[in-house]
Symmetry: C2
Subunit: 319 residues, 2 copies
């Protein structure tokens, strides 16, 4: 598959940070940055930007939950790169005040992605507008569409379509619940109700379909694709960046630096962090559930492989 408009966004640090509370070493973040530079990846999302507070401290929540300009600059300055990826950060609705954001021309950040549930699309739009006012590229990442009421979703999509400050609109399979036919069906809804927007897609690998669904999104016209090195990400993880680059066959990409980073930097992390498909996440995805219960079960050494018990518990809940 080759289409020149396609752009790839690496969100290893941001989605991976949801596993280890953003406690990556600087060395690891620099290695991923270097790999995305050398691989020709278009955008790298380096973390979230939350407001620091008494509750949300940098010590407890990890430096990449806050993405201070100086921290990002240290990463960028660590490696000389002719065409570095654009750098993105993520906003969570309700956890950011815009006061701390410098104008884009004084920042090393290029893109602000705002994640919000369907119910919070208006708040997301507000953050995107204010980010655009400061000069940033903007996205709205509508989470958990698979569990949203369709009329609410449609209203939100129409609202986003009326907002020129939003550059990209994302379909996010937060629960890893989609088969390819649902990817197509939701994207048709997106294209019908937000026809003016460039689309993005963010998958989760609960049913071993993150990569396949990303391919389906490409077929359906999506041009901004999220992926992570080795699929690292919360729960079952995401679309594997290296598999995606292999698929895309675009000569601007070079997959070798990604495999180098896996061998040298990611493999050692596997002993301390868990991500990727397993049975519990498969059930959770099939049932279209938030992964929190699955993650809880995986975190308990006594029950982590008890997929049958998990299925029986999940399907016997009072409706």
């Amino acid at each position: 598959m080759y289409r020149k408009e396609i752009k790839v966004l690496d969100c290893t640090i941001r989605d991976g940070g949801l596993i280890n509370n953003f406690q990556f070493s600087d060395e690891f973040v620099k290695a991923i940055y270097r790999a995305t530079c050398d691989a020709g990846v278009d955008v790298m999302e380096i973390g979230k930007r939350l407001d620091v507070s008494d509750e949300y401290t940098r010590e407890k929540y990890g430096k990449w939950n806050f993405c201070d300009e100086d921290d990002i600059k240290r990463v960028v300055d660590s490696y000389e790169c002719e065409n570095r990826p654009l750098l993105a950060i993520m906003f969570d609705v309700g956890r950011i005040t815009m006061a701390s954001m410098p104008p884009a021309d004084q920042s090393v950040v290029d893109m602000v992605r705002t994640a919000c549930y369907v119910a919070d699309i208006d708040k997301g739009i507000d953050l995107a507008k204010r980010s655009k006012d400061l000069g940033y590229l903007t996205t709205i990442n509508v989470m958990a569409c698979s569990a949203a009421i369709k009329t609410d979703l449609i209203e939100g999509l129409q609202e986003i379509n009326r907002t020129p400050e939003v550059d990209y609109l994302y379909l996010v399979d937060s629960y890893g619940a989609f088969y390819s036919e649902q990817v197509t069906s939701y994207l048709e809804l997106y294209k019908e109700h937000a026809p003016d927007k460039e689309l993005g897609f963010h998958a989760h690998n609960n049913q071993q379909l993150a990569f396949a669904n990303t391919q389906q999104a490409i077929i359906d016209g999506v041009n901004l694709l999220d992926a992570t090195v080795n699929g690292m990400g919360r729960g079952a993880g995401n679309c594997n960046l290296e598999l995606l680059l292999n698929f895309l066959k675009n000569p601007k990409f070079d997959v070798r630096p990604i495999y180098k980073a896996i061998q040298e930097n990611v493999v050692p992390l596997r002993d301390e962090m868990e991500w990727g498909f397993n049975d519990i996440y498969g059930i959770s995805g099939h049932l279209n559930r938030h992964p929190r219960n699955a993650m809880k079960q995986r975190a308990n050494p006594e029950t982590k492989d008890n997929c049958y018990d998990f299925l029986m518990d999940a399907t016997s809940e009072v409706g």
Copy 2:
């Protein structure tokens, strides 16, 4: 997805046997049989039938490489089942003489699947014909199509189409090399040159696409689908039976006994056997290679995670 013609074939023991030289305990084989009975799976492939010889001994190659009638009967007799799955065995071209095969009405076996490379299709057809003469259902599983010369493959497909003794014709992604677009493209070739045959599909999970490609095969009209409990199978393994049953939504299937077998019988095997996606198999699949080199690298504790080295070695080979 629901289509009443769709049948599911469990090949856990046969494809899983390629990992451990068919050294499964009777208890394990019985557990998988019981699970397929209770889950409503249509066919269970219980192993291969090779001729015993001085080189190929039962001790060294495992009882399920030979599938003696008495061994199979003991499994079937171990569990009362109103509608048991059809039982299948696999022939390898060149490793079976038909003399040992009883007529189907004196056998507990219902289906004989003959695996062959494109170059051996004539030999495969001969075995299928002789199996049909004895009263068995027959399949021809054409291996490694992704590496076959197209004109040879077409000739083989036409030959199979002219053979009424072949009930099912399989597309087999032996190297885990296919994306969904290739599944469609090869199936179009199959339908063009063997229009009279019911089709089957057998996937491998090198690129995390076994389940997704099986879905694509369904969309393209295939009605006999191979899968294994927990994806167990050589190298990166196969399409996960439990994910497939979830997808099919056919009320004749019940996924719960499969998850029960995973929890009780498969999880304990994970310490002694390895299967499933990893980076090395991903590279091997993308490069459309036989998995033998990838399996060799995974078997070496020193190098098992060195995916970058594997990629560089594989792509620097003299062409």
